[in-house]
């Protein structure tokens, strides 16, 4: 009896300790990662304060921060961030939707792959930015050409990952469904979809990354609002602090959406037997 109790306590303390150690490790990792950016910021700021660098070319971090705060107080910041975010969101949804539909059919039906894949691969070979003039000619400089460009950018990574995810589903698992006389639809819904989810999520993450890249291109080609528009304004009015401020905002937004998807991924894939899920 006593041995039993001892054993249990042993396990308990072990468990607690490992949680603490884990947390400490995380904090230490975070601190280590922030060290160099922090030093760079300090050096940068002092270099400008001591006039080693020209503040007109290279604005100090505090100036940039001031610029962002100023934009926020004017109230224009939210409009710019909002419209950019909106464009990425709509383009992302449109591109993902098209990719899911096409990718599922191509992945599932061999004949459809033979029919469609060469064409899609050919389109993929075109650098997506080459579409810009054509989209502007077709749809004008308004929202639709921008969203279209972003959608095209998002489409390919999502499509490729869905196709390879579906084609990579273990035949042995599908056979289990066949033993139970699943209909093709049930096999798709209960085996193929969940089994290809990891690959789909990878596609979504690289799709979002490309979405942010293409929104810059879309807004540079002509816009009256948005973070990309601020880049143009900054260039034309010779205010590098505005350019760097919007670059930073882009970085923050991109990072935020990526973290969001990453959390989603971790939640949805906690069953995966990989390094990340190791205890």
């Amino acid at each position: 009896m006593t041995v039993n109790i001892d054993e249990r306590e042993l396990f308990k303390t072990k468990g607690k300790k490992s949680v603490n150690v884990n947390f400490e490790n995380k904090v230490r990792g975070l601190a280590l990662g922030l060290l160099i950016p922090f030093i760079l910021l300090v050096v940068w700021e002092t270099a400008i304060r001591l006039n080693w660098l020209d503040a007109y070319v290279f604005p100090a971090p505090t100036t940039i921060l001031q610029k962002i705060i100023e934009l926020a107080q004017e109230g224009t910041l939210w409009g710019h961030v909002g419209i950019t975010f909106f464009r990425v969101l709509i383009g992302f949804l449109a591109g993902t939707f098209a990719a899911v539909v096409l990718g599922s059919i191509v992945g599932y039906f061999k004949w459809f792959e033979q029919l469609m894949d060469p064409l899609i691969q050919a389109f993929r070979a075109i650098p997506s930015l080459a579409w810009v003039p054509l989209f502007i000619l077709w749809m004008g400089i308004g929202e639709s050409s921008k969203v279209m460009l972003i959608a095209v950018g998002v489409f390919f990574p999502v499509y490729l990952n869905i196709v390879s995810g579906i084609q990579g589903v273990d035949r042995k698992l599908i056979e289990v469904g066949k033993i139970y006389h699943f209909t093709p639809l049930q096999i798709v819904r209960r085996i193929i979809l969940p089994a290809s989810l990891p690959s789909f999520l990878v596609g979504l993450r690289s799709g979002v990354g490309l979405g942010w890249m293409f929104v810059v291109a879309a807004e540079l080609m002509g816009a009256s609002q948005g973070l990309g528009y601020l880049l143009v304004v900054g260039q034309n009015t010779y205010s590098p602090e505005l350019i760097i401020a919007s670059i930073i905002l882009f970085a923050l937004l991109g990072k935020a959406t990526d973290s969001l998807l990453k959390t989603l991924e971790a939640r949805a894939l906690k069953w995966q037997d990989n390094l990340q899920n190791q205890l």
Binding site: K172, L173, E175, V176, G177, K178, I179, Y180, F182, R190, I191, P194, A195, L197, K270, W271, Q272, D273, N277
Partner: protein, 239 residues
């Protein structure tokens, strides 16, 4: 219940698989299939289960339940994104009704403390036991088992063999068991088929007319075992 007439399924230009096998199995009968590795035992089960339709010959299955055929594969084949409980219920026609019985099956295979675990957190034997519960809960009329217990320790193995006997008796399930374990075949089966050769053919057939449950140390069974070993040995020399 299950009739196979001159069934043939070969690969590699007739060099692997099985060739010209005929037998028939009565309802409630348990048949064991023994044979050296690669002689087409798994292939035979795949053909019987309907997974492999590219065979020659005729196969008739008389099951008429909602789930005529159940299969336990050589590997667990669990869905990695489902918990143990969900995996066992996978394929159950009406999950609500089965919810009541699942606890019973979890207990039977000794996994009641692990029902919320994902397959990645299971040992090989636990995964196989989950797969066994998944096949049993469907209450099939014909149960095909491909080396179901080869990943388990001796004690669990015996427990699950007794479980199979119980289920077979209660539901009159017809079973075809592929195994490498001669003692297992002697303990469970009414008849034993011995397959051999490349491609495999039916080399011998033995009836074990001993009432179940059997005594694992029975001297009659020991004599049968010697006979089977002899048969397997002869077959090896022929090859």
């Amino acid at each position: 219940m299950l009739k196979v007439k001159e069934a043939t399924r070969t690969f590699n230009n007739g060099l692997a698989g099985f060739n010209n096998i005929s037998f028939s199995i009565k309802e409630g009968e348990t048949v064991g299939i023994l044979g050296t590795s690669g002689c087409g035992k798994s292939t035979l089960l795949r053909v019987l289960s309907g997974l492999d339709q590219n065979y020659d010959g005729a196969i008739e299955i008389g099951g008429v339940g909602e789930q005529p055929i159940g299969m336990i594969f050589q590997e667990p084949r669990l869905m990695p994104w489902l918990t143990v409980r969900e995996n066992i219920l996978f394929g159950a026609k009406d999950e609500k009704e089965k919810q009541a019985t699942i606890q019973e099956y979890l207990n039977l295979v000794g996994l009641s403390d692990f029902d919320a675990h994902y397959p990645k957190d299971l040992s090989g034997g636990m995964a196989q036991r989950t797969a066994i519960a998944r096949a049993l809960i469907g209450e099939p009329d014909v149960l095909l088992l491909d080396e179901p217990f080869s990943a388990l320790d001796a004690f669990t193995k015996m427990q699950l063999q007794d479980l199979l006997l119980k289920i077979q008796k209660n539901r009159l399930t017809t079973m075809v068991i592929v195994t490498h374990d001669i003692d297992e075949a002697l303990y469970l089966c009414d008849r034993i088929f011995i397959l051999g050769g490349q491609p495999g053919t039916l080399q011998a057939e033995l009836s074990i007319d001993v009432a179940k449950p059997r005594d694992r140390g029975d001297s009659f069974l020991a004599a049968k075992k010697a006979e089977i070993l002899e048969l397997l040995h002869i077959e090896k020399e022929v090859v």
